[in-house]
């Protein structure tokens, strides 16, 4: 069935079975492979994307439910030729990415968190950062370096907005 939604700022229509996982639509139908699959059951967070600005797991999202919504994937934060987002730069600087399998999801969950800080004017603390990334598993870094990276990005002010806002 035809499903129309906004993808990284552009109106997009895909033809997909209604209950296909949106993760597969992104990767297989649209060729957007920044969003990764880990567990496939909502536990690991590496498939995190933003829907109407909120972080969700693409592996649990039935394609039909993106109808009329605004979706942002990691691809919207930076393009391979251009500069990285502040959070991506910060994670590089703090060694917050090692093997990299969790990184796409961490960046999306972190971006949602940083935007929320900006909207509410709140200050980040370890606890609130840990809570924001509790749905993103990392087997390499022990989380401290990721938390440091998110803090560093927060201290630099606004997170890089996606291309369209």
């Amino acid at each position: 069935m035809k499903i129309t939604f906004e993808l990284n700022g552009a109106l997009t229509t895909v033809d997909s079975p209604p209950l296909a996982r949106f993760l597969d639509v992104l990767r297989d139908t649209l060729g957007l492979t920044a969003t990764k699959e880990g567990c496939g059951e909502g536990e690991c967070g590496t498939c995190s994307i933003l829907v109407d600005g909120e972080v969700v797991n693409a592996c649990l999202l039935p394609a039909i439910q993106v109808f009329g919504r605004s979706v942002e994937t990691l691809e919207s934060l930076s393009d391979p030729a251009g500069p990285l987002s502040k959070l991506q730069e910060s994670l590089l600087a703090t060694d917050g990415a090692q093997c990299g399998i969790c990184t796409p999801g961490m960046v999306m969950a972190g971006t949602a968190f940083l935007r929320q800080l900006k909207a509410t004017g709140a200050q980040p603390c370890d606890r609130s950062i840990r809570q924001a990334i509790a749905g993103n598993l990392c087997r390499c870094t022990g989380y401290s370096k990721i938390i440091e990276g998110i803090k560093m990005a927060a201290a630099q002010g606004t997170p890089q907005e996606s291309a369209h806002d």
Binding site: P17, P18, L19, R21, E41, G42, L61, A109, A134
Partner: protein, 295 residues
């Protein structure tokens, strides 16, 4: 067999259209809300939809709200746990439910998981039901004959079953607004804070706790538990024992015994019956021994 992902999905735009569909072919409809339970079941092959799927997510304007109405705090079935966690009204009126919402899954799950889905999924380990039981919640089921409202404590006749009919949609959860200050409790025991299924849950509310010469006396108490019986459970007998009685060590002991007779925990992959029984008792002790006297 057809590929379940290709099954027909109907996405009505209004509540009345959804209820009309259920009236006509409700027994073939599988309701889809946030999908956090159903998509996992689909992926694992546990859910093989046969008829069609009724996707209610487009009825959000009518079913996603938290508001006061006739002295009740009302939540639409499509209210997410993220909505609950950030609601000022619920932070004041239902702190135990807010505490539960914050521990459901992680942010990604809280943004999608709905209260209606949690209640209708009918898992004995569902985290929202113990607080809702302790808050005397009622649920509203709607069919094209009209709505009916029933207390949550009468909603689960058996393991993973509800009294809801195929022609009915869960539309709302209601909690009476407090008329005096309360003391509220929520404790979920699980291996970690996020993304974990509960081993034991206790939620409680007490009010009119008065000082007497022999010790504190609880005016009223409500106790809801999870993961310790085939269904979410309200502990009526334990409540009865504690209400209007002076809270002495021997009464606390008797209440613990009564709790043990009301629950029926089992051994499973997450825990043992014995552990659950002991921890559930300890949680009640924890709540009772930390009750503050009202001046």
């Amino acid at each position: 067999m057809t590929d379940p992902r290709k099954i027909e999905v109907f996405s009505p735009e209004t509540l009345s259209a959804a209820v009309q569909v259920l009236a006509e072919v409700g027994s073939e409809a599988h309701i889809l809300a946030g999908g956090t339970d159903l998509m996992v079941a689909l992926e694992k092959g546990f859910w093989q939809p046969k008829g069609f799927v009724l996707n209610i997510s487009r009825i959000e304007p009518e079913l996603r709200y938290i508001r006061m109405e006739d002295g009740d705090v009302c939540m639409g079935a499509l209210t997410t746990f993220a909505d609950i966690a950030r609601s000022d009204l619920l932070n004041t009126e239902a702190p135990s439910l807010v505490a539960a919402a914050r521990e459901i899954g992680a942010q990604q799950i809280q943004n999608r998981a709905t209260i209606g889905g949690n209640i209708m999924n009918a898992s004995p380990a569902g985290d929202s039901m113990p607080p809702l039981l302790a808050l005397d919640a009622r649920v509203v089921l709607k069919s094209n004959e009209g709505p009916r409202t029933l207390p949550l404590f009468s909603f689960y006749p058996a393991y993973r079953e509800t009294v809801s009919q195929p022609s009915e949609l869960l539309t709302e959860v209601r909690i009476a607004r407090r008329d005096s200050p309360t003391q509220d409790y929520f404790r979920k025991v699980a291996p970690r804070r996020a993304q974990a299924i509960s081993k034991v849950i206790l939620a409680a509310r007490a009010w009119n706790v008065e000082e007497t010469e022999e010790g504190p006396r609880i005016g009223s108490i409500r106790l809801g538990v999870g993961s310790v019986a085939p269904t979410p459970l309200r502990l009526f007998e334990t409540e009865r024992l504690l209400e209007k009685a002076v809270l002495t060590p021997s009464l606390m002991g008797a209440a613990g015994h009564m709790l043990e007779t009301e629950i029926s925990p089992i051994d499973d992959m997450r825990s043992t019956a014995e552990y659950r029984r002991q921890v559930c008792r300890r949680l009640l002790d924890d709540f009772l021994s930390n009750l503050l006297l009202e001046s």
